[in-house]
Each structure stands twice: as C-alpha cells, then as structure tokens.
Symmetry: D2
Subunit: 202 residues, 4 copies
C-alpha cells in the first residue's frame, strides 16, 4: 500500500470522516506546501511528547507543570467545580466565557446499556474532594448533556457525592439549567423542554 | 381552470406548502371517500360561523358562550397567567400538559424593525389585570420565544406591567427558563445557551 | 369535539402532515377571509362531482367526456405509451415538457414485501394494448422510479408485456435512462449511478 | 500557542473542517496510541518525498516509476480513455469498479466566469493522443460533472478533439449517461433530469 492509500486509511479513523473526505484530505495535503506538511507532521508528532493529562482536572494539555492552565490559574474560583463528561464539553463551557470556576473531566457518561461506570474517573473525583473542600469548594455543578446518558450520569454522581461528602460540610450540588435554548420557538419545542422551561421559570 | 388545478392552487396558499405537496393533497382527497370530503368541506365552511375569539384570552375557539374551554374551566388556576404570542404557542404549552393556569394571547411579538406594538393586545392585557388580580392572580409568566423578538416583547411587557400594576399588590413577573433543551449536547450548544444553562443552574 | 379540533384531525390525515402543521392550517384558515374558506370548501366538495378517472390512462381529471385532456388531445402521439406508477409521476413527466406521447397510470409499484401486484392495473394495461397497437403504438416506456420497487415493477411489467404482446408486432419496450442527474458531481455520486452513467454513455 | 492549539488551527484548514471538528480531531489523536501518531506524522511527511504526478494521466501517486499503478497496469484497456476533471472524480469512477480503461486528469473544469482553460492540461491531452491511438485508443469518454462547468468543459474538449484528431482515425467521443440517478423518485426529479431520462431511454 502506498503513502496516499495509507494516509487515506489513517484519516478514515478520524471521528466522522468517511473514505471520500479522507481522500479529499490527502488531495488537500498533496496540493499544500512542503512546509505546511512538515508543520502538521511535526505538531502531530509533538502531541505525544508535550501533551499530558492535568493532574487535577484530567483534561489533556500541553505545557510544563502538572496542572493545566485553568487549574494552575490562581484567578479561577476554587469555590465551584464543574464536572463534565469530556474535554470537548469543557471546551464548550470555556467558549461561553461565563464560567470562572474549575473543572473535573469524568471521561464519559454512563452507558445506558450496561449502567456501568467503567472507565469513568468517579474515584478520582471523590478522592479529590476533601482537598478541594479545604481550598473552599462550596458547589459542584453537574454539567452533563441533556440526554438520557447525561441524566443517568448526573443522578449517579449526585448519589455518590451525597454519600461521599462529609455531612458537616455544606456543599451544594447543582445541574445546568434546562429550558428553551437560544433561538428556539415555543411552537416547535418538545413537550419536555416546555415543561422544564415552565418549571424553571424565573 | 378545473377543480383539481383550483384546489391545488388553494392548498399552495397553506403555510409551508409548495406546488408538489399541494398536488399530493389533491391526490389524497381524490382517493378519499365522498363522506370524508363532505366532512372536510363542512368543517372548513363551519369555521366562519362557529369560531370566535375568546373574550378573556383572545384565542380562537368554537363553542357557545363568550369564553373558550380553558378560560371557562373552573379547575384552571386563576393565580397564574401565561402571556403568549400566538394560539400556536398556547397550544404548545397545553401540549406539554404541565401548565394549569390561564392564558392571554398577545397576538404576536414586537417587530425589531419598527419596535412598534401595533396590533398587539397590550391595552386589553393591562385592562384585564384589575379583575384578574381580584380573582387571585399572583404571577404573570412571559412565555415568549427565545429569540430577539420574543426577548424584546418580554422586556416591553414587563415594563408596562410594572408601570400598570397597582404598587400595593405583589404580582410576580416571570419568564420561561432558558438553558439546555432536551436532547442537546453541551459540545454543540451555542455559547449563549451554555451561559444561560450555567446562570440558571439549580 | 369542536370545529377547530375536528378540522385539525382531518388535516392530520393529509399526507405528510403532523398535529402541529395541521394546527397551523386551521390557524391559517381562521385568519383567512370567509370567501377563501367558502371557495376552498366548495372546491373540495366539487371534487367528488366533477372529478373522475380517465377511461384510457386512469388518472384523475375534472371535465366532461370519458377521457382526460391528454388522452383526448389528438396532437399527442399514439406511437408511444409511458407506463407510470402514479398521477404524481405522470405530472412530473408532463412538467418536463418533452414527452409528447400518452400515458397509462398503473396505480402504484410492486411492494417488495409481498411481491404482489394487488391493486395495480396490469390487466387493464394488457387489455388496452391491441386497440393501442391498432392506433399505431410502437413503444412502451416503463417510467418507474429508480428504486428497488420501481425496478421490480419494470421487470414484472416487461415480462407480462413480452408474454401478452402479439409476436408478429414489433413493440419496443424501453425504460427511462439512468445516469448522472442534473447538477450531480461525479465525486459524490454513488457507485451504481456511476456504473450506469458509464454503461449508458453516448 | 501550544501544540494542541496549533494542531487545531492546522486541521481547520482541511477542506470542510470547522473549529469544533478540528478540536475533535486533536482529541482523537490525544487518545490514540503514540505509534498511530508516529505513523500518521510519518505518512504526512512522506507525501512530499514519495508522491509524484503520473507522467501519463497526471494524477498524484506514490511509488517508483513514472506511471501510476493504473497507467502501469498492462491489464487496463488502452482502447478507452476517460478524461476526468480531478483525482477525486477519477477515484469515484474507480470506486464504481466497472471501468477497465485508462484515465487522463484534466486538472479542473472551465470557469464559467472567464471561459478560460487556464491551468487545464488540454495541450498535454492532445499531445498524448497520437501515441494513445497507436496503442489502440478507439473511444474518449468525457467524464465531467453534470453541471454547467462540466458541460462547458465537455463541449470545449470535444471541439478540440474533433479538430486535433487525425481525420482518418475513427475515434468515438462519448459522455457519461444522464438520467435518473439511483434511488431517485420521478416525482421529485427536476425537469431537465426527466427530459434526459426520457431522451436516454433504452
């Protein structure tokens, strides 16, 4: 198999990429300058060397030190911790530029088929709490997607937190608000969203 | 022009219906029984005679009496009034089967171009309040779509209500909750929705 | 049940119309003029009286006489007969304004589940052929959709025609051309379409 | 800017890739094994060194020799030459697994704005014909997309071929078949496609 075919196959493993788009990626690289290809190859190779998981929030980052730039930032509030499923969800919250607290990346959501927590960093989350509480933690936000897997994960984490948290500490456990998302028409909203928009009126 | 062409043209005036779907409607009616066609024609003709606007909420209804079945229903709570833009939005709230209060149909939202309230039943809403307060009203829910027109309308109605409501009465003015709508992934949510989901966490 | 609900339910029976769009149709009619409603109701009622199936091609039409305006038109060529699944497919061929022959509406395609010809007017098609041949028929075009049902129907009709046609008459049996449809990129075309575009090159 | 951000920006330059999918690509690579990242980086770096344009068909390929694996394959038929706009269109034809001849990649289609052939390898195509005819060429297939640019290119190439080909040689010039593409309903097909499906019936 030649380089073009091999590269096409590698791009097909990328999330959401089929054989044709993989082929277009290769065509794009063929028409690109050698310096761009060198830069791309270099960056991919570097990922392994420079990128590591943050010792506090478990997201991937590149940099020196054990903690990522968010966890290492003294200006981020330690009073509130958002538990998210993935690095991508963390990025979405950062992108909204309203959250000033810190994060914990759980590593996924519960699979509804197995109801297992396999591979999720529940233990690491619980183990980190005493230290976090000492540093001022007063609220845990369960920031999971608004789907059955996200809901099941939130329910489970909430139970574990209630059981695991010291009873003499007042830690609030919250979840992201549900309701009409920006731009949505009432007329086309589903019944559950409307019910939640009514329940969460303010 | 024959009956088929004429009917096709009439169906093309229906909201969201193009020439091909209009043609399919006619084909459907051609294959239907004469009694179904008679029933449909009769119901359309009857709309004019039997349908009127409710004297209280201003939605269209068919029936005897001045008030629609919701406004006439003694089991609906008079303590809460949902102000909606249209009959369709009212129907969406009813469809969610969680709201037990009554409604007021404003007749539209503010046009952002003109910022005018033309054609909206603001005066009728304000005029109805003393009587509604007497009957126990304690909350007005501004149930508008989550778009700029809906937001502008809510802001305006809120101002008018604050100005128009007797200061010695405690009437709460609320709006539908904003946040993640059912089924939405954090990863794909827009920044404003995430900001509102964070702000409205509970 | 009142007129609005009854009409909403009737519109829900229309092809492709759900409860919400049915509700919007009713709202549209409520806002329409009484004269438009009268015209619509009248046209629907008239369908039964004025519309009949053409005795030759079996499509629905409104008019006097036994044959529709296409079959009754002496300028349409009798040498070529397009067999189509439905009135809608006939309309699509007419819309392209290139076909000058006459039609026969089969009334559907074979269901792949049952492989039955139930309800299809195969017998009527075969019975009409001697008379059509006498009037000059020399080609039958099987104008079915380019999907498995259409292909199965074409195969079956072709067999029946070969068996049913007098052997001393030269009747050509053709099918619509397959290949790239207007506007399609080679890059995104499926393999079967490309294979047919190659096979049908000219 | 760290490696993750730099790589995200590089992926955003890929055709059809926005910031979020670029981010997912990086996440995917972060979760991948070091060996996969090394293989990918290596393949990208190799593209420049190992890939060249085929001296016969002008497509990109990786390998030794001057001709690509198709042009070098003695089992491909030399009697038929498909002229295509791009490597991607060539790949689509190969993917359909029905074409056994050889190719020529023109390098694009005529821009309708300029009507110029700039950058297209027309001269190279014409220059290659005497040798191809000697080796048995009897048909040139103009395999362009079914859009105005493709049609204009086909018209122009056909003119040049007619002018450039020796008059004593019988070279057939064909184009891909037009008509219904696989899966298309007659009812929804555009008028031109139906006209071509009728014209190309067989």
């Amino acid at each position: 198999m030649d380089t073009i075919d091999r590269l096409t196959q590698l791009f097909q493993k990328f999330p959401g990429i089929g054989p044709r788009q993989a082929g277009r990626f290769v065509q794009y690289l063929l028409r690109s300058s050698p310096s761009l290809r060198r830069e791309l190859a270099g960056a991919i190779r570097e990922l392994g060397g420079s990128v590591k998981q943050c010792a506090e929030c478990f997201r991937y980052f590149a940099g020196s030190g054990k903690a990522c730039d968010i966890c290492a930032n003294p200006n981020r509030e330690r009073t509130v911790l958002a538990v998210v499923a993935s690095d991508a969800d963390l990025a979405a919250l950062e992108y909204s530029a309203t959250y000033k607290g810190v994060y914990f990346v759980l590593g996924g959501t519960i699979s509804l088929a197995s109801e297992k927590m396999n591979g999720l960093r529940l233990k690491q989350l619980l183990d980190s709490l005493p230290n976090r509480i000492e540093r001022g933690l007063s609220e845990v936000i369960l920031a999971f997607p608004a789907n059955p897997e996200g809901d099941a994960t939130a329910t489970r984490i909430r139970e574990e937190l209630v059981r695991g948290l010291p009873s003499d500490k007042q830690i609030k456990i919250t979840a992201l608000g549900r309701g009409l998302s920006t731009g949505s028409e009432l007329e086309y909203a589903d019944a559950e969203t409307i019910a939640q928009a009514l329940g969460n009126r303010r």
